[in-house]
Symmetry: C2
Subunit: 520 residues, 2 copies
């Protein structure tokens, strides 16, 4: 993966070429002057929240930056910019809020980054059909807050809620924390308006479609087929009531069995999170008072949330030799499951009762509503804390895959085993379906030089994804493909890659849209 | 539409050519001898349940028949047949149980019809992940019955349950009567194994997919991209309990409002059917004793189920001048809503209570469980009775479209108005979602000669679809496109057609797969 992305000194970027400056002027004329070749902007738009790019930033490096950044404000401006890029054969990378963690927006071959955050209007809200037509640059939290005023909600709550856009959700095929009840973004998107690689506007027909479903081609397309400009989104009503529940299980086998039985009985909690034993320890201590001193590695890890903890762990050499920490975690068994039910008051009460029965039957111990309440309070905290970990010289990343119930625990054990020599690893199980669920692994490590860190980081990803795939998991759940999962994409699609290439050739005949991504 | 499909005398089919006989021998060698050019088989495989083909049969005509029929038994045989067809450039039309009502399997350009009903094994059932790997030729009712033995169910109950296959469900993007709770076939299909137009086997990755969703390209592809050979299907557990409910409303506005509020509150009955006033009369009388005599048109219509009734109506000249009958129906107002809840006993009780509250609040009058019970008993009756109508010289057809709640009643009124001069028309509302529902229109008419009937029939479809589309409906809900909706497909997809053409060129570079369908 290293070779895929070029690395340059951050503070010594080459000055814009005459050609870039000319391109910038031409683009500026199309977008009311909002185009730039300034070095600080080029450096900013050279990355998203891909952890490797964060490591580089800390070490004074950057991925290859774009040559020009533009900020269109309308679909017509997006189309005009695209036609210009197509005419010149210059790469064009759509950009939302830059919260992607797989490097999906990194301009592998330079070119134009097109920030669509100015396309941020809610064009219409239909409370009767529970739908909104919203532009791609709308930030999640703002969208949600505006809908809430009308008693409506997106139903989509990624942990990046404050720093991700509707267009980004769709481009990366995202899922929110309440996907268990309301679905992933592909279930929520009725229709997409996009500008393809020729600068033409495509409006996909809504379901039920005649023949096949073109909306599903733009969902997950990561800017490589078209720039998503707006979408018709299904909404939900803000829930009348919420019920919180928490259970302790003797192991992940019991816990996942409980989740399976809840979903296969037709009960749909909005939120389901089963923490593995070490994650359970961290979460369990999350709302207790901080200990006075730090005695020993594990204790040091227990006094706050996961990533803040890892920030401190990072300063410890132990995380550079994670075997010991992983072995310590192996001694733990107890797992915490948090559940949140949303909907009409009496229905959610009964759903919670039903789930409680299932959990007790699976050997769970009722821990009351507090763990789920605590989780809800901190639901958006993680995205803000990630970069602080890197400041300390450690690194952290997450890998989300999914598997059917018959394979879930084997995926868990094999990934832990494969990554154990390389990083400290923990996991939670969430985004449940009747047929299976997602596994969300967190890796934390440290190493000496940037080169050593990169090598370690790449080895973790190779080992983690290979173990997940060999145990029967998908390559991704909701973070998209970007650069970190490009090889896994090719492995999972196999001969399907030629179909992607055909789509690419049709949507984007000159290959200007986010080139190198999705394997095309 | 007439011109799209050629019509020949049924009993005077041209004898197989020497080329067809040679092709038949070559194909027979690939499929253990199971290939035929016999006239009776060619005539049988020249049609499905497309009403116009039924009219033709009655009048002694047929659509252009295939030249050869083959019955492969394995994926390898499907691939071998396809490679041969590709090599020779001969059309190849996959065929399941022939229950399609839009003419999707009619071999517009002759060639080979490939009946996949011998691919009918359940390859595996995974009760833990609630999934089965099943071959495409498996008949719905047999599949369901075998699953039931293990406490499992497809959750998919089209009225064609006894005469449709899993492959046909997927190829036509179907929906069953319980789609309200369990989803349409696109929600139930985890992965598809198909043979593309080059004879290569494609296995689509299951959700959550990296990048875009290739399974969604084969769902609804009506044999034009590949022959579906098997699929991994999500299953449900057979429900622990069922609750039946029925309500009368003063009009369709109140009734659809009630359905909307039920679904937007997060309550999910398995079955939801709101009958328009005339359909309500027919349904309401469905389980009462037959009247002794037939006094007047309406009374004659009331003593049994819809289609059996229309069979008798067909003999009356009134149905040839439907204005009067439609005006009589205009005087009616009362609408019946039937609901069926399935799931864990206490949950469905509460869901039914919640729905009852909503229905009463919308002005509904509780009619107890009987209407829903009666519906359940007769749930598969319609598909068997359709052809009897044609025997009587009348014709009947159904048109299913979908709309968001803000447009549902306007679609209803506009379609009725547009079709009223041409056919007797009634409608029920079913397949509900939080954002809208499907409208299922039944048209019944009569005319003199075959030419007059065809002209009337085509005019009904043109008027009905145009009215539906102009009022904001989709062109289809779950019957597929076939030949009856081909123009509407093009209208709805617009520029999207070039994407379909690109997919076609990739999956089927020689254009041999069901040529002329889906506009490619």
């Amino acid at each position: 993966m290293t070779r895929l992305v070029e690395r340059l000194p951050l503070l010594d970027l080459p000055a814009p070429t005459a050609a870039s400056q000319r391109l910038c002027r031409e683009l500026a004329a199309l977008v009311d002057g909002r185009a730039s070749t300034a070095s600080h902007e080029r450096a900013l738009y050279a990355r998203d929240m891909w952890p490797k790019a964060l490591m580089w930033t800390r070490a004074g490096y950057t991925a290859l930056p774009p040559d020009v950044i533009v900020w269109p404000e309308t679909v017509e401006q997006v189309a005009a910019v695209t036609r210009k890029a197509c005419e010149l054969g210059v790469p064009l990378i759509p950009y939302g809020a830059g919260s992607g963690v797989c490097g999906g927006t990194i301009p592998l071959r330079g070119g134009i980054v097109m920030d669509v955050k100015r396309l941020s209007r809610i064009k219409s809200v239909d409370p009767e059909a529970l739908e909104a037509d919203v532009e791609a640059g709308m930030l999640g939290e703002i969208f949600e807050r505006r809908l809430n005023r009308q008693g409506l909600s997106t139903g989509h709550f990624p942990s990046s809620m404050y720093c991700s856009t509707v267009g980004g959700w769709i481009a990366a095929r995202g899922a929110g924390q309440a996907s268990n009840r309301y679905g992933k973004i592909e279930d929520m998107t009725a229709s997409v308006t996009a500008v393809d690689g020729r600068g033409e506007v495509v409006v996909t027909p809504r379901r039920p479609v005649p023949g096949w479903d073109l909306t599903q081609l733009l969902i997950g397309s990561e800017g490589a087929l078209g720039t998503i400009c707006s979408a018709r989104m299904h909404l939900v009503r803000t829930p009348e009531a919420r019920v919180f529940a928490g259970f302790k299980f003797r192991g992940i086998e019991e816990g996942t069995e409980a989740i399976r039985n809840i979903f296969q009985a037709g009960v749909r909690p909005a939120v389901v999170r089963l923490y593995d034993p070490f994650d359970t320890l961290l979460v369990g201590k999350g709302h207790e008072a901080k200990p006075a001193g730090k005695k020993g590695l594990l204790r040091a890890a227990f006094d706050e949330k996961v990533l803040v903890r890892l920030e401190r762990l990072g300063s410890l050499t132990a995380i550079g030799q994670p075997i010991g920490l992983n072995r310590a975690a192996d001694l733990l068994r107890e797992c915490l499951l948090v559940l949140l039910f949303e909907g009409p008051a009496d229905l959610v009460e009964l759903e919670a009762e039903e789930a409680t029965r299932v959990c007790l039957a699976a050997g769970g111990e009722d821990r009351g509503p507090d763990p789920a309440r605590t989780w809800l309070e901190k639901r958006y905290a993680v995205s803000y804390k990630q970069s602080r970990v890197f400041d300390s010289g450690a690194f952290v990343d997450t890998m989300e895959v999914a598997a059917t119930w018959d394979k879930v625990t084997q995926v868990y054990h094999r990934v832990r085993q494969a990554v154990a020599p390389l990083a400290f690893v923990m996991c939670h199980f969430s985004h449940a379906y009747p047929e299976g669920c997602a596994l969300y692994f967190t890796f934390a490590g440290a190493a000496g030089s940037l080169e050593q860190i990169e090598e370690r980081y790449d080895a973790i990803w190779r080992a983690g994804l290979a173990a997940a795939r060999s145990a029967g998991a998908t390559a991704t759940h909701h973070h998209g493909v970007g650069v970190s999962k490009l090889n896994a994409l090719k492995g999972q699609l196999g001969d399907g890659m030629r179909l992607i290439q055909a789509l690419k050739a049709t949507f984007d005949p000159k290959g200007i849209l986010n080139p190198g991504k999705l394997g095309v």
